[in-house]
Symmetry: D2
Subunit: 201 residues, 4 copies
């Protein structure tokens, strides 16, 4: 079983990403559950803006990521919280994934069917659950199955507060919730492996 | 396999419900797929306001609905669109379902695990996809699995327009999409029947 | 200048409302700024479900509240956070306010023009900014002006945490932000008093 | 009086932008009302990703746009609808505007105070009102005043349909609503010109 984790922080490496720090706990749990996991920080790749999954031009970083996605059973989408919602980079990823809308497998099913999504969100302020909801709605629409209780988040309101890496506040809640999320996406991915969505032609 | 369909129109019977008209197409498909389906119009029951799943007082209509929900594999939540979002009755239902947050089965799993959700939305104006996203996010959070492409909707913008029952515009899209949604929630429900979420204690 | 404050907690009096506790700080500031303020807890009135602003039936509590609203310059909508979004009671209020869509004054303007909105949200978990955004979008749509930085909130995540009245965490932030919100809705209400929206016929 | 209109289509010039076609109706009305209007298509400028309003690096197109914004009374944010929500480019703009959070004028007021926002949204499917709500919530948070009924949109659901430029369906509704939105943002901008937000120090 394979998982792809896309960190949609606005900060390219080697800058420290709070989102990545929480993501790493989820990845560790996925690997403990036997899932081979690949982590990509979108800001490090030249993912072009567009609504196609195919290359949008020379040097477009998306097609290589798409290849990983298509060979994975699980997608973990991770985003910081900005202005109360998901990052523009997470939106850019959703727009490119949305380009799969008309891509079908040899059984006539959308290529996203039988794939499961989960989420990780951090922020210096309130908004994480809205971010999760927006990402879940978008991925369900294009054909992902959304596992039960498949997310974790961290922020510490009210108002602008510390960053995840600068605080110790209730981080154990976020870690435990992240482990549960990992277990839940794996459980649904296994169920879909044993009983895939039926052929559509 | 059993499905519970909750119509969250603001109108009690015998008033005509546009949402119910579209819901009926989904129900017909569910039954064709061998699912025993129960339809309840929330406005006809005295579902009290509150955040517990247990009775909130004399005459509370929720506990009887909850019993149906707990014995179902599939929940179809249907809502009209008001002020761009879900109806207050759909919110009331989500608040009562949220009361299940601390209810576990004999294997230590939330009682909502292994249940699948789908959605039907109508409106005289834009907003359906937001309504679906809000309902999906809320049900995933309390433990439902959200099937891929598990919704249909009908509205006919821009601006305030005709009601579903008064129009013929692209209703075949809504019907076909509703049938696909029915097939998808059934596929996920079967996958979870064959491979349930693992025991948690 | 007059303000109406609608507390959309799910709890009727005399139960303690966390939302009301934070609301009271905003009310105190409004009165300090010379605004006569009326506070109504919706759960104490029999506000019927419906989409008309006119009475929906015998004993409907809405028309009396509407009268207050129509004579006010400012509306403060206050809601708890449930399942990551606004309460079903806040939604019910928005549905009734939405019934004003076709109510115009003697100058042909929607009766909501020249009225200003602000918001107060509490919760035991993340979601407040989404609640504010949803309420702002709905009230703007029906004709209210949304003042800049016109809200305050309190919650203390991540994950389900303490209630406002049971915690001391960063309450000063919520108080100061609430005072700023009060000043801002008053500033916009004054601007609209001096320079009202132009007649539309 | 000055207005800045930011078209957040994903398509750079000279590609045809549906959003721009509807935007042009609003611009025409703004100019008829005596407002000097500047239109910028973000995809034509190299607006870098980041959370600062200051330059994020060599060739960053944002500072020049920011200068226009700071000298304008009105901001019209225009976005297409993708995956049911605003474009990643609109989000990128909101992230850069959010960088103004700590920028104050000589009277201690946020530099965004006394500025008014309005919105234009197009799409091939449902979602416009959610897009408007998200943009309104974000701009209010950073200090813009949101005018009443300050948006127009066009889409023609249900399901993926024609583009604005390829359809004649109810375009007069979108035009008339856009003219009203233009009048409303101008009315609020005038009110704020006559009675600005009070000095804060």
């Amino acid at each position: 079983m394979k998982a792809l984790v896309l960190n949609c922080t606005l900060k390219p490496s080697p800058q420290e990403s709070n989102t990545e720090a929480l993501v790493n706990i989820v990845i560790k749990e996925l690997e403990k559950l036997g899932v081979k996991t690949t982590l990509i920080r979108i800001a490090d790749r030249n993912v072009m803006t567009g609504t196609k999954s195919a290359s949008q031009g020379d040097g477009d970083g998306w097609p290589a990521i798409l290849e990983e996605l298509l060979s994975s059973n699980i997608l973990i989408l991770a985003s910081p919280t900005w202005v109360g919602t998901l990052s523009s980079i997470a939106m850019r990823v959703l727009e490119r994934i949305n380009g799969l809308y008309s891509a079908f497998d040899e059984h006539g099913r959308p290529v996203t069917y039988n794939k499961v999504a989960g989420f990780v969100v951090t922020g210096e302020e309130d908004g994480a659950r809205h971010v999760v909801t927006e990402m879940a709605g978008a991925l369900m629409d294009v054909g992902f199955t959304i596992a039960p209780q498949c997310y974790t988040y961290w922020n510490n309101g009210p108002g602008p507060g510390k960053a995840y890496l600068k605080s110790d506040f209730r981080k154990e809640w976020s870690s435990e919730t992240g482990k549960l999320a990992a277990a839940n996406v794996v459980a649904i991915a296994k169920a879909l492996k044993h009983t895939p969505m039926p052929p559509m032609k």
